[in-house]
């Protein structure tokens, strides 16, 4: 791949990434949305976070398989409880990393 090709490639990638981020902000902020849509959008964050998180906890390997035996899932339980009680983002991240580090050390 030549330098020009590479530049065209990342410009194309940049455009198709930027437009979905930009279009709703640029156009939706200037009009009133129907309440049904607002109710729906209100559920989207919980849905997306869960869709990003749960597969990372219970799938793994190559090819991808369902599994309940990864440290990612076990560590998630105390991390979840800590987040629930403290509601601290920084604290949860540090605790999660620490527990994951310990569990990986023990398992290796």
């Amino acid at each position: 791949m030549t330098s020009t090709d590479y530049l065209l490639l990342i410009l194309g990638m940049g455009l198709v990434t930027y437009l979905p981020r930009w279009i709703p902000l640029f156009f939706l902020t200037r009009r009133k949305l129907p309440s049904k849509i607002i109710d729906w959008l209100d559920l989207i964050p919980a849905a997306i976070l869960s869709a990003l998180l749960i597969p990372a906890l219970v799938t793994g390997g190559e090819p991808l398989q369902f599994t309940l035996f990864r440290p990612h899932l076990w560590v998630a339980v105390p991390t979840f409880l800590f987040a629930w009680w403290t509601r601290s983002l920084g604290g949860t991240v540090v605790l999660g990393m620490f527990l994951f580090w310990i569990v990986e050390k023990i398992m290796v």
Binding site: I10, W22, L49
Partner: protein, 243 residues
């Protein structure tokens, strides 16, 4: 006069301070992923400058990883761009959700803001806006500080991240822990819990059944639509609650 100046200084300081406080866990999570990406991209034949340029122009972690693996496999430019589009279409939903809170913001600032909408910045900003006391300028800091971190980390990786041991200090878990906490923030009523369970279950099934990252958009849209219909039907929520 003097008071005004002080107030203004405090304002900027406060905005930066609030933004940085919310952004640091994201930055921490981006460093190992960014370095890992840099190392991989270098092995695919890209220079640190090309790597930095991609991070600057595209700024979307998972699609950058996919693009590099497709470049090594000799895929066509069109295929790589289409895949990038599919992977990043989910940001359409996130920007739509955020738009509710950004009514007063100028179009120039919205254009700048859009560039930094990611899974992580979205989740943090959405929660803070929902709680109240959050402002678009702090949100802008949350969008762009991780962006700078990402660019720097990917270039560092390009120069030789192989010297950093893999999985040091459990840093691979930083983003997962962050998602856990952000999800907890979202679980304010039964309908959110139901949405999360449904979406998570669908995402697992779909991620195993479908190639790529389509499962994120699909699972979220299906789950939110089903729960909205259930809530409407059960009449638990007054249809007139939003004026």
């Amino acid at each position: 006069m003097k008071e005004d100046v002080n107030k203004n200084d405090f304002g900027i300081f406060s905005i930066l301070n609030k933004g940085i406080w919310e952004a640091w866990p994201i930055c921490l999570g981006y460093i190992p992923i960014g370095i890992a990406f840099g190392v991989l991209a270098q092995k695919a034949g890209l220079t640190p400058m090309e790597i930095g340029l991609m991070s600057l122009i595209v700024f979307a972690g998972s699609s950058q990883f996919i693009a590099v693996s497709m470049i090594s496999a000799g895929a066509s430019m069109g295929a790589i761009i289409m895949t990038t589009f599919a992977v990043n279409l989910r940001h359409l939903l996130m920007s739509s959700s955020l738009s509710v809170f950004l009514k007063e913001v100028s179009r120039l600032k919205l254009t700048l803001f859009a560039y930094g909408v990611t899974d992580e910045s979205f989740a943090v900003n959405y929660v803070r806006f929902k709680e109240g006391g959050w402002d678009p300028d702090s949100a802008l800091v949350v969008n762009h500080l991780p962006n700078l971190t990402w660019i720097a980390a990917t270039i560092m990786g390009g120069y030789g991240g192989q010297f950093i041991p893999a999985g040091a200090f459990g840093i691979d878990y930083a983003l997962i822990a962050m998602f856990i906490c952000l999800l907890v923030f979202q679980l304010k009523a039964w309908k959110y819990v139901l949405t999360a369970i449904l979406s998570g279950t669908l995402a697992v099934i779909l991620s195993l059944a479908l190639p790529g990252n389509w499962y994120i958009v699909l699972a979220s849209v299906i789950a939110a639509t089903i729960v909205v219909m259930i809530v409407k039907k059960s009449g638990e929520e007054n249809a007139d609650d939003i004026d």
